[in-house]
């Protein structure tokens, strides 16, 4: 690593009170490296296979999910496909659930459903047992989604938790919590909001934030960010 990188990191430390001042190798890094080296030496997998999966993991994100819902809002035939064969619909936005192993990303399985909101039904997803999430099409789950706090409370006090995200739903709307704790993965298809008449797929995709597709927010013209702006910084973040 060059000196300029070092200076950059150093400045960073002063900017963010949140960031822990750890510069020695951490116990987590030691363990990860030791295990990976032993796996390769024992032939459990090859360095090449590890690289292939890393490249796959680095490119997943919420973009294809937003595109899929925007497309469904515009095209009734595609919407029908999305609601009956979501895995097939994903291919049209460039996501093949069998990638990159030929049988999928192992922890994400091969059973995906899109939950359609209606004027009287609102869905929100959780995995109360771990962090099951439609990773191939929506990327990695946010930290809060994995916490015991969200998992403990959303199943029992969904309206209170949604209100903490700024989402108040009227009594006439049924709130349905989808606890995805086995092999199915779920994503919410929210209602297309008023004020988006004549919009293009690109415009619609922009307001379909990750939080809307989890069900803790509703799409709204002019809102293109997730609800919470809080980000805890990493000590040694993923290198792009």
């Amino acid at each position: 690593m060059s000196n300029s990188d070092h200076d950059h990191d150093h400045d960073h430390d002063h900017d963010h009170a949140h960031k822990p001042m750890v510069d020695e190798i951490t116990d987590f890094e030691v363990l990860e490296i030791a295990l990976r080296e032993l796996c390769i030496e024992k032939g459990l997998f090859t360095a090449q296979e590890h690289r292939v999966f890393t490249e796959y993991a680095e490119q997943i994100g919420p973009t294809p999910a937003a595109r899929l819902v925007a497309k469904a809002w515009l095209d009734p035939e595609f919407k029908k496909l999305a609601l009956t064969d979501a895995i097939k619909a994903c291919k049209e936005v460039g996501v093949d659930w069998l990638h990159p192993t030929g049988f999928g990303a192992p922890s994400d399985f091969m059973a995906f459903k899109i939950l359609e909101d209606t004027p009287t039904l609102h869905h929100v997803i959780v995995c109360a047992l771990c962090s099951c999430y439609p990773r191939p099409i929506l990327g990695n789950s946010p930290e809060w989604y994995r916490t015991p706090n969200y998992r403990r409370r959303i199943v029992r006090w969904p309206r209170q938790v949604l209100s903490e995200f700024g989402l108040e739903l009227p009594g006439g709307v049924e709130v349905r919590v989808e606890d995805s704790n086995q092999k199915h993965r779920f994503m919410v298809m929210p209602l297309r909001p008023a004020g988006t008449e004549g919009w293009t797929e690109d415009q619609l995709a922009e307001i379909l934030t990750r939080d809307c597709l989890i069900g803790v927010a509703l799409p709204k013209p002019g809102v293109t960010n997730n609800v919470t702006p809080l980000v805890r910084e990493a000590v040694r973040p993923v290198t792009a």
Binding site: F28, I33, A34, F45, E49, P106, P158, R159, N181, T239
Partner: protein, 280 residues
């Protein structure tokens, strides 16, 4: 090398880590443990739905390089037939015990599960792991000053004598659960059937949350065939498949004093062994 004073300080830290109920002493005698306490100790620590908690701020988090590498490590081990996801979910979310479950970062448990897996399945022994931990640590004495720790395997093994599961070959081109299609007996329940979740004294591993046990609901979808997690988690490739169902519950049936509207619902997915018919 630690000094006597450093050892005493670490022991004082460990002594503050509480792992038992405050109302029952450590090492209780059998008469001090009630049935409810027994169930609480037997409960798998990953099953947190409905536990009491207060609002916390919701935060995002930038990913550490080792966290991404840990995720990749776990997934590549599954890709190459060393384990299936259900084994990982037990080792990293349940076998860790409550202290580690609640006390360490999310991906630290994924990592812990890999070490445990490799030793239990005899891919490495204790000394190989321990020696390597010392060696890696010694490669990076003092501050890193912007250096990034890297894996440096000494050679690449041919992997010819490694024991791998059949699943990672059979599932290619199909995925999981489609690979199990057609392997279960006919489904006992159909769409709209009223069922009750059995209240079983589940030990060691299950994915049926405690909060639905004993509750009545309706079949919202006959989902797919697969071995139950209670079998799949122990690397039992001979386990018989069964049908899984998405079950819909009324929130007011699940929770005492549910304060939302009467039509609020919750759905979750359960294997057939946990369900019994309700005659209406």
């Amino acid at each position: 090398m630690s000094t006597a004073a450093e050892r005493a300080e670490q022991l004082a830290l460990v002594s503050r880590l509480k792992t038992v109920y405050p109302e029952v002493p450590e090492w209780p005698t059998p008469d001090e443990i009630s049935h409810s306490h027994w169930l609480a100790y037997m409960k798998t620590p990953h099953d947190v739905g409905g536990e009491l908690d207060y609002p916390h701020p919701y935060e995002n988090k930038e990913e550490e390089q080792w966290e991404l590498m840990t995720y990749v490590l776990c997934e590549v081990l599954a890709w190459r037939g060393i384990w299936v996801t259900e084994e990982r979910r037990r080792i990293g979310n349940v076998d860790v015990g409550r202290s580690i479950y609640l006390g360490l970062p999310y991906y630290a448990r994924w990592l812990w599960s890999v070490g445990r897996l490799l030793i239990e399945k005899k891919h490495i022994d204790w000394a190989e792991l321990t020696d390597r931990l010392v060696e890696v640590k010694n490669r990076y004495p003092g501050p890193l000053n912007g250096r990034r720790p890297e894996a440096e395997p000494k050679f690449a093994g041919d992997g010819k004598s490694v024991r791998r599961n059949q699943f990672h070959i059979k599932a290619v081109g199909l995925g999981d659960p489609p690979v199990f299609a057609g392997t279960a007996d006919p489904a006992k329940f159909k769409l709209g059937d009223r069922i009750r979740v059995r209240d079983l004294p589940a030990m060691f591993y299950t994915r049926t949350p405690e909060y639905v046990r004993g509750a009545e609901g309706i079949i919202a979808e006959v989902a797919y065939e697969s071995p139950a997690p209670e079998d799949e988690t122990w690397d039992r490739e001979d386990a018989k498949s069964e049908w899984f169902y998405i079950v819909r519950f009324r929130q007011s049936d699940l929770w005492d004093n549910y304060t939302g509207p009467n039509n609020d619902t919750l759905q979750t997915e359960l294997p057939e062994r946990w369900l019994e018919a309700v005659n209406v």
